[in-house]
């Protein structure tokens, strides 16, 4: 049975055509009509709108091969963006093979390299494929060389396809059959199954996405979660069609879902192993790390009465995105809200938009922060994900910040600008390689805080869009950092505090204050804005008072009109947050991000 199965995923740099290839494969199999459908697997509204994949999507495809045999393919389309690397890693665990796609007009990019190594490390069979050959700028030979030079994957004749037109896709499917090994695993051995993802269904609770490594699961079975010992009765198993398709049994080697009426989302951990309660000693599947949120920000309802609504919205969102963490926090300026952790800035951006849209929440997001390790003079070590919680300078012994190891690939002509940029972002060069004549592959260590905000945009603009980057979290590193407080009308606004390197702090403070001055509308009185480090004011600007609002002639006794006008005026103020007696627009808390040094 399992001999006729192939589990594989499609990995690539962002936008190299993974989801488009998945479309063609679905069409060939007859699962969807041949109507030039686009990114069928990108089901989320936001995915479609932004043209990117956010969540990995598994799908099962029936396929009749050239040899006349019927096969079942389990395909997992993965996201390309670095924030969602974690999605790639866990998809890899469910597969034996990976299609490594390269855009022929761009060649091997940073994430091609990173994802290729992830797949190699996971022991997957790699099928290198060159995509977009229909484009005039396609450089097929170059790509072949790059596979060899950069990735060490020898390709005699790499498959060339056009995912858009479908050219070469049938050949690719044949290759998958011959090159990707069928899943191993004994159906009669004790149950061992990996939860590689989960989703939430309002009626059925948590639905686990699993890869069965040995044994089998069927409805009525009792299962146990290795991490917490909880047991459940399986209500339904099935595979991923365009919808969830129930089936009788999931046997070793298969990819599918398990529904066991699990209501408590926290009980299901992606990466956990499902075993049989009769054999609780069965070993867990190792090497699977939980995703770690690395960027945190405060989220506050604009209307403080909506606090509970926001909590419910976050809880719901978390059901389908277990990588989000949140806990209650309160701010003197913004009231009650949450500190929410994300995998990166795109993830944060998307989550905020989903909250705003799907849950109709008005939100204020504060400046994002990484998690600092602060050792106090009393010898305590604090993990601080909110700058306003920083101890005073006198109480701080030293501070460490999270670093990333970044791989940056650039055409050699941009080596200079890339090094400049890296330097300005406190990058430490670890290695510089020349995999081929025209490219340079840098390895840098960066403070995470430096690259989360605008690094990627800056990299793209300094290299005319040619450079690409991938990174992974590395160890913490000591740094000379200070907390900067922003004072509006004399009062420190906790939600605007941020941490930065001591050296550039005053300049950054000034830039920030200037930005705030633009954003905060004139009030009825003069509003001083200040930036302070440990009590020393390092920058100050004033917002002059507005001088009047309309003192038009009162309309005889038309008081109702006057009242309506005032009420209308109030509506416009809804998007403002009162900080003390100053009205601060929501964007102010967030758009400080865009302040240049």
């Amino acid at each position: 049975m399992t001999n006729n199965r192939r589990n594989f995923c499609i990995i690539a740099h962002i936008d190299h055509g993974k989801s488009t290839l998945a479309d063609r494969i679905l069409e060939l199999s007859g699962l969807v009509g041949v109507n030039g459908s686009e990114q069928v697997l990108d089901g989320m509204e936001l995915e479609r709108e932004r043209g990117i994949t956010i969540k990995s999507s598994p799908i099962r495809i029936p396929y009749r091969a050239a040899n006349g045999e019927e096969y079942i393919l389990n395909l997992i389309d993965t996201p390309g963006h670095v924030d969602f690397n974690y999605e790639v890693s866990r998809s890899l665990r469910a597969c034996e093979g990976a299609i490594l796609l390269v855009d022929a007009t761009q060649g091997v990019q940073a994430q091609t390299v990173a994802n290729a190594y992830r797949a190699i490390d996971a022991g997957l069979e790699i099928i290198p494929v060159i995509n977009k050959i229909d484009m005039p700028a396609a450089m097929i030979d170059d790509c072949c060389l790059q596979f060899d030079d950069i990735l060490g994957i020898a390709v005699d004749a790499a498959l060339t396809i056009s995912a858009k037109k479908g050219t070469g896709v049938p050949e690719l499917l044949e290759d998958i059959i011959t090159k990707v090994p069928p899943p191993q695993g004994n159906q009669d051995a004790p149950l061992k199954s990996l939860i590689f993802d989960s989703q939430y269904d309002p009626y059925r609770g948590v639905i686990m996405h699993v890869r069965v490594f040995s044994g089998s699961i069927k409805a009525g079975d009792r299962i146990m979660l290795k991490s917490n010992g909880k047991t459940y009765e399986v209500e339904e198993v099935g595979y991923f069609g365009l919808r969830l398709m129930p089936c009788e049994i999931l046997a070793a080697g298969e990819v599918g879902y398990v529904s066991a009426m699990v209501r408590t989302v926290a009980d299901i951990n992606v990466g956990d192993t499902i075993v049989s309660p009769d054999l609780p000693q069965t070993e867990a599947i190792s090497g699977f790390r939980r995703s770690q949120p690395v960027v945190f920000c405060g989220l506050y309802p604009t209307d403080s009465n909506d606090y509970v609504k926001l909590r419910v919205a976050l809880e719901k969102l978390q059901l389908n995105d277990s990588s989000i963490v949140f806990e209650k926090e309160s701010s003197a300026a913004l009231g009650n809200g949450f500190r929410v952790g994300f995998l990166g800035m795109l993830h944060m951006d998307i989550t905020l938009e989903r909250l705003r849209r799907e849950y109709e929440q008005e939100l204020i997001a504060t400046l994002p922060s990484v998690v600092y390790k602060v050792t106090t003079t009393k010898g305590q070590m604090l993990h601080i994900d909110n700058p306003s919680k920083f101890p005073t300078p006198q109480e701080i012994e030293h501070i460490e910040e999270p670093m990333v190891r970044a791989h940056l690939m650039t055409p050699t002509e941009f080596v200079g600008p890339c090094m400049e940029l890296a330097k300005s972002k406190r990058g430490i060069m670890i290695a510089m390689e020349h995999p081929d004549q025209r490219r340079t592959l840098f390895t840098f260590d960066f403070p995470l805080a430096e690259i989360i905000v605008d690094f990627h945009d800056r990299l793209k603009s300094t290299t005319k869009g040619y450079a690409s980057m991938d990174y992974e979290m590395a160890a913490y590193h000591a740094a000379d950092l200070v907390k900067v407080d922003i004072l509006i009308n004399g009062d420190p606004v906790d939600a605007l505090s941020y941490v930065c390197v001591r050296q550039g702090a005053p300049a950054r403070g000034r830039a920030l204050i200037a930005k705030l001055r633009e954003l905060i509308p004139r009030q009825q009185f003069r509003v001083p804005l200040q930036a302070a480090i440990g009590g020393n004011i390092v920058a100050r600007e004033d917002i002059p008072a507005i001088r009047k609002d309309v003192l038009a002639k009162c309309y005889g006794g038309d008081v109702t009109r006057k009242r309506k006008l005032l009420e209308k005026q109030k509506e416009g103020k809804k998007r403002m947050k009162m900080v003390g007696s100053v009205e601060v627009p929501q964007e102010a808390f967030f758009s400080l991000l865009k302040v240049d040094q």
């Binding site: 009825q524 001088r547 609002d549 309309v550 003192l551 038009a552 009162c554 009109r561 009242r563």
Partner: protein, 370 residues
């Protein structure tokens, strides 16, 4: 108890470019029929003793001495206007004839409000006013010569091309004449008016307007005028009783197209349509709303805070509406006082002097429903 009677006369010589009051240019042929309609409408108030009368517009002086006599004769016959404390008549300089003034005096008007607006001709022309500065000055002199007991003028700050110097000249000119009361409005661009559709380049900025307003306020204070309401200044004893009643949340009946009324907790407004009004004068209602006690109290608070000296006596408000009903309101007031938007002296709330020019957000906050 004060109960006001307002009569709207929606006729104008021509339409000023900033104006969004309900008025129609020309159509003096309709005056007779309109006056008859007014007298029909007022019948429903027979027996209600009015304490103030205000003829506004539009341009009431356009109905001429005969029109005025007819109107007043009818009012006296139908409505209870025998014990008026104050009767005001609005007049525009182009129709402020001695004959009209005399007819007004003969019919019991002691107070006259003259739409001078500015004493600079280019400024008058810039907004299409139908008179000159000289006509404005003459109207004021004529009124004082004829012996009105209270003379008010309207002035605008922020006209196209106006600046502090020119406003100072206008004020100097007017203060050298005999006036007792002055209303100073900032020009505002009302949607749908020609001025708003095509604002001239020489329109003073809001900040310039504010500077002008402040300069005028200082000049008026020096000349002995009390700034008693956001836009109104008066010599002692010359505050407008009819308007004070609006700002104290009092009752009044409004007659005529587009006129508003507030009687027994109900606010309503007549249609802004001359023909529709004349067809059914007592039933041409555009909107009507019954105010709940909470809304009513908040609205009264909002209005009373416009009276910058008198302010809002919370004890009195509580006595009339009940402590419970105004609890949220008084919380809002005290929080506004903490923010220095209002001043509280233990009895009354007043606008903070620095916030008089920017009172709208404060008044909006006062209105806010809990």
């Amino acid at each position: 108890m004060t109960t006001g009677l307002y009569v709207h006369l929606p006729f104008c010589a021509s339409k000023c470019s900033y104006c969004d009051f309900y008025s129609v240019p020309g159509r003096l042929d309709l005056v007779d029929a309109y006056v008859r309609a007014l007298l029909k409408e007022v019948r429903q108030y027979a027996g209600l003793p009015f304490t103030t009368l205000y003829l506004g517009g539009g341009t009431p002086s356009l109905i001429g001495p005969d029109g005025l006599r007819k109107l007043m004769k009818g009012l006296r016959r139908t409505a209870n206007v025998s014990a008026l404390q104050e009767a005001t008549l609005e007049v525009n300089p182009e129709s402020a004839s001695a004959e009209f003034f005399q007819a007004a005096l003969d019919n019991g008007f002691g107070r006259v409000s003259i739409g001078v607006q500015t004493m600079v001709d280019t400024e008058l022309r810039s907004v299409g006013r139908a008179h000159t500065a000289l006509q404005g000055a003459e109207a004021v002199m004529r009124a004082s010569a004829l012996g009105f007991s209270s003379i008010s003028v309207d002035l605008i700050a922020g006209l196209p091309g106006q600046n502090q110097q020119s406003l100072r000249r206008s004020l100097d000119g007017l203060l050298s004449l005999h006036i007792d009361h002055l209303s100073l409005y900032c020009l505002s661009l009302e949607p749908g008016t020609p001025l708003a559709d095509q604002p001239p380049a020489n329109l003073p900025s809001e900040n310039k307007q504010a500077d002008m307003f402040q300069m005028a306020r200082d000049m008026l204070a020096a000349a002995g005028f009390e700034h008693y309401e956001i836009s109104n200044f008066a010599r002692s004893g010359h505050q407008c009783v009819h308007n004070l009643n609006y700002w104290r949340g009092g009752d009044y009946a409004g007659l005529g197209a587009s006129a508003s009324s507030h009687l027994q907790g109900r606010r309503y407004k007549n249609l802004s349509d001359l023909q529709a009004y004349m067809r059914r004068p007592a039933a041409a209602i555009e909107s009507s709303e019954e105010l709940g006690a909470g809304t009513k109290a908040a609205e009264e608070a909002m209005l009373r805070l416009r009276l910058i000296q008198e302010g809002l006596d919370v004890g009195d408000l509580a006595a009339r509406f009940g402590h419970d009903r105004i609890q949220c309101l008084s919380d809002r007031l005290s929080s506004l006082a903490r923010e220095n938007a209002l001043i509280f002296d233990g009895t009354s709330y007043r606008l903070h002097p620095s916030r008089v020019l920017t009172s709208n957000p404060i008044l909006a906050a006062v209105l806010e429903e809990a």
